[in-house]
Symmetry: C2
Subunit: 462 residues, 2 copies
């Protein structure tokens, strides 16, 4: 189970100026928090509320379909190439990097138990797309193009380039090497996939990209590389009831949400740092960054007041970033709340041999790298407290499908509750619409000539 | 040459509340900036000023030694394994990822022109170290252990584990597969390397980790994978005189420094976002994050006043992060200054084929991915200005040794000038010393029993 192993936000630990009286605050906010949790669960199935991600722990039917398909194509492909951007790839990258064996794409097929390599193409950089085409045998590659709306310019451009090449390389058979993950009813990709005869997986309604990792968007690539997606769903299911608990004292997502909210609004800590102590978890902060940035960065609240609210999320990885960011965390502006993620037990234990015994590094011998990792994390936590900087520590027992799913799902619930505390719409992103229109205009899409003119004019000065 | 292609910080563009009157400010600060630049160059060669990185463009002798060694071992190794943490690996990772062909470690030996793969082991995670040992044939691996002080606990632990394995696998010959990059006179690694007979490269005095990428710390791995390190040095040399120019109107590092300083101190923008529009440049923000965080995050200024100053650096990569962070940049708190890095010309041009012509994505066909990348960057820049958010755009002509070196060196000079404007010591890191002592204490290093006791006591409550 997921647990907070440490909450260093108390005035007794970090002082009056920076700390919170948590006991008092939990009591003050207990009714409000209960209302929020009740509200989210009541609105959950209402169309247009974008809360369908809260049902993904009960998604056994999709799990069945995805597993069915994965077993059908097992052994046929050497590579999975995921085309997407933002929420269509970040969760996939974070979970596969965590759960698959490290350096997966560099292992031999045997070391991978015959499962394919996996690549997430999350950009339109011509050099790196050229690069990936140099290493992939398209005949042995299954392309999974993911866009909910079906017309994301970056993803569809990637797809047009690669589909064209596949057709030239494979002839008509190329269709068997493409799967589309998109909306059930709408959009160009839905249409094309039908016409062309690609295998399709649907993204349920009312799930935004940043909350989509446990929908077919993530489950399909996970199953294709051999992850146990039943364990993922079970992980969510097992924690979901806990996270529905309306008692803040029993609900770690509610606690995390309230602490982040109060640390920002009362103590000026508007930067949230996520710092796992594990290289395998290194892309989870990237996923978290999108979750927080898009969900909480809002110009207006639900009452239409201009608030320009939002926590700025920052990625860190321990122990490495003790050597890059810790100086700032300790001595810079006291405007950050750091969340550490600790791993109860690593898969491997590595002994540091007793060599160089009579030198200044002799003390390391006889320890393990595991000890050292723990010592680094403990030392950093205490050091932050010494500097009166708040932190929270979440511990997961080990890194596997079950626990990673719980961690990510808890952070989603925490973010949803945080958004309610700010009284904002957690699930829209009005601030990126104009950019999309500008891009359409510059690329010559019909209907965007107005944007094109206004943009060309601005570009002479801006 | 490096240039600012756009400075969107002016009140005429983003309004009085968020903008600066740059013409006026450049004039106000011209004398101070001239003093700072003169001061840095005068103090440059004084021991203890930590400014020796300003001489790395004139480092022809080291270049000669490194090239000599690289040609000596050419063809002998399939892998370079760099052991280090923080500044010992971040610059190497950033530059090799940028300049080498994309997906370098996945290319065949022929595609790599027989140069080895390169791995930067920048953490002590037991799972990922176990993982890398599964894929490397140690007989064909050259290990480059990098620590200036010679006793960094993480790096020396990595080294002890791997040296022990190498000795078991290779017998006495293992010595030929190890090079040490460390201080010339001091430290345990210096001593061990001598005793054991490893090849040694020296890190010059008075260069901190975050300013060390163009010392032997970076040059050795660069040369080993076939980068042209002469071009690197030439790039720095060619831009160095420009960056010594005491006229702010002619010196882009001074301009960048002043803009960041004023945007923080006058306009409350204390978050600096670095966003290259290129996947190959994706680790340059990570390198920048350390540079900014450790250099500018300081509790005290040079007059001993408590200031807790510092810009918080945030990584972004375009176009991908338009789908993760742009919502926050546009609509969240107006507390960020974004620096875009644009690439004048990519190595590859990829046409988007004219397919699906009569669908909603037909407009994309006939364009190139290069067009699209430019459209995304232009649209985002204009969109930020629409929301009255400041940005700066730096353009490099292309991605190669010469231009990447100029970019990184310019950012170093900019950071040094920024530190002077804040009146802080840019080159120390007092806020991480206590953590190191705690780690020593927990790992049982003699002499740290005092720290151990105080730490154990704290850990019961913190």
């Amino acid at each position: 189970m997921l647990r907070y192993s440490c909450i260093n936000t108390d005035i007794k630990i970090i002082g009056e100026e920076n700390g919170l009286n948590l006991e008092e605050e939990f009591n003050n906010y207990s009714a409000k928090i209960a209302d929020i949790i009740r509200g989210l669960n009541q609105r959950k199935d209402k169309p247009g509320e974008w809360l369908q991600w809260m049902n993904l722990g009960y998604n056994e039917e999709t799990v069945w379909y995805v597993k069915e398909f994965a077993s059908l194509v097992e052994g046929r492909f050497d590579n999975i190439l995921v085309l997407g951007i933002g929420g269509s790839t970040l969760g996939g990258l974070a979970v596969t990097e965590a759960v698959l064996k490290p350096y997966w794409n560099l292992l031999t097929k045997e070391q991978r138990n015959n499962y394919p390599r996996i690549f997430f193409l999350d950009n339109i950089d011509p050099d790196s797309i050229n690069g990936i085409l140099e290493i992939l045998d398209l005949k042995k590659t299954l392309v999974n193009v993911i866009t909910k709306s079906g017309d994301t310019a970056e993803t569809m451009s990637q797809f047009m380039v690669i589909k064209d090449l596949m057709e030239k390389t494979l002839g008509d058979d190329y269709r068997k090497n493409i799967i589309a993950t998109t909306d059930k009813k709408m959009g160009i990709l839905r249409q094309l996939a039908d016409q062309e005869g690609y295998k399709i997986f649907y993204v349920p309604d009312d799930i935004g990209g940043r909350f989509s990792v446990f929908s077919s968007i993530g489950l399909v690539p996970f199953a294709l590389v051999g992850l146990d997606i039943e364990k993922i769903i079970n992980g969510i299911k097992d924690i979901d009831l806990e996270l529905k608990n309306t008692d803040i004292h029993q609900n770690i997502a509610a606690q995390g949400a309230l602490i982040h909210y109060l640390m920002d609004t009362k103590k000026g800590k508007n930067i949230t740092v996520l710092m796992p102590y594990s290289s395998r978890l290194k892309y989870i902060p990237d996923w978290y960054v999108q979750l927080i940035a898009e969900s909480l960065g809002k110009a207006y609240n639900r009452d239409g007041e201009k608030v320009n609210t939002g926590l700025t999320p920052v990625k860190a990885v321990g122990a490495s970033d003790q050597h890059t960011k810790l100086q700032l965390l300790n001595e810079g502006p006291n405007d950050k709340l750091t969340t550490f993620i600790r791993v109860g037990e690593f898969d491997s234990t590595i002994n540091i041999p007793k060599i160089f015994e009579y030198t200044g590094i002799g003390y390391l011998g006889g320890n393990t790298l595991n000890n050292l990792m723990d010592a680094e994390a403990d030392s950093t936590r205490v050091s932050l407290a010494d500097y009166q900087r708040p932190s929270i520590t979440i511990t997961i027992d080990r890194i596997d499908e079950y626990h990673i799913a719980q961690l990510l799902y808890m952070l989603e619930v925490q973010t949803a509750i945080t958004g309610e505390l700010y009284n904002i719409n957690t699930f829209d992103q009005p601030g990126v619409e104009q950019v999309k229109n500008y891009v359409y205009a510059l690329m010559g899409r019909a209907g965007f000539e107005g944007s094109a003119n206004s943009l060309q004019e601005k570009m002479t000065t801006v």
